[in-house]
Symmetry: C2
Subunit: 193 residues, 2 copies
Amino acid sequence: MPKLGMEPIRKAALVKATIAEIGQAGSLDVTVGQIARRAGMSSALAHHYFGGKEAMFLAAMRHVLTIYAAEVRGALILADGPEARLNAIIVGSFAPRNFRREVIGAWLNFYVLALTVPAAGRLLAIYQRRLRSNLLHCLRPMVGARAPVLADGLAALIDGVYLREALKPGAPDAAAAVAQVRADLAAHLALRT
Amino acid sequence: MPKLGMEPIRKAALVKATIAEIGQAGSLDVTVGQIARRAGMSSALAHHYFGGKEAMFLAAMRHVLTIYAAEVRGALILADGPEARLNAIIVGSFAPRNFRREVIGAWLNFYVLALTVPAAGRLLAIYQRRLRSNLLHCLRPMVGARAPVLADGLAALIDGVYLREALKPGAPDAAAAVAQVRADLAAHLALRT
DNA sequence: TTTTTTGTTGATTGACGAGTCAATAAACTT
DNA sequence: AAGTTTATTGACTCGTCAATCAACAAAAAA
């Protein structure tokens, strides 16, 4: 009973299932069959729509990154002034939509994927550049010449906090993560010059 | 031509080859055959000595962590006073022996392994606890009650810097990494109480 | 010198998984 | 009504790889 216009629905379901499966397994070693089953279809159909496993992984990664970007962008529009914008970036980075067990696990695995698959590397590079640029933009009027180093530091710290959260058992604690980054930022801002 | 006492030699060669292979491939998806070939023996022999692939991975991980710990410990004995000890930990963390392309790549992959293999998780937890405890010990007399948060932040930052280095193309820059962490630390220390 | 221990490998097994294909069916087009 | 496009899957191919085995070699122990 083929209803038409299934393609976007099935693709979305597969992307979601890919993230969930990778996140839950904690590994890229998930079979197309597993993903397809979770998305409620045959593995053949998954191949039909995506052409291959790698394309599915890339789509999933793109999705995670897109959600993240949207989250930050959404927080940014409401923010007025450098301090508020900086805060928005931090809060957005740990927004509940991204900062969930499965997504964090998938995130870490995508980092590893970027080591092997050039397209994945490019995706990640875009995210990193955007984050850095966002931070820099806020920091420049606040700390001047110290902005670049601070931006790099904050970006690394955010990644590090994600990493630690991925390994820690139990539910992720977004509030603690935000507090951690804020504390670091506060120390730098308290410095004169 | 079986010379006796091969076991430790072959095991060491396999561990080294495992790290190199994972680091170079950027993935845990390396075959026992590849590792064994790099170590100059048959895959059957690798199985003979380690019993299985997972055991080889764990031994490799243990080795990386051991080298790291030795590096930090070595730097610590020469250090006198909290500030110097803190500095030793940072410098030791980015010592050339660990902070090399292949090793960093392997490191990241071991983090992912820890998500799947409980024994790997335990190994990593030990490293994390030790790092935190080392940092805390130095920081307590320097910043008092702020020590715990600062220690967590520094630990996360170090991991984050590693992560970024793993993804960045080109040779790792230990000096820049150290400077990055030091800059963060300096900001926190400049704060009164 | 016979036996045991240690070292070593080529060949094989057995499982699993990505990707393809042929076939079926329901919708849309002409 | 005939033809085309879209949806869908079970079955199959083909390759890969971890793990095992049987066999051989040499040193050490008996």
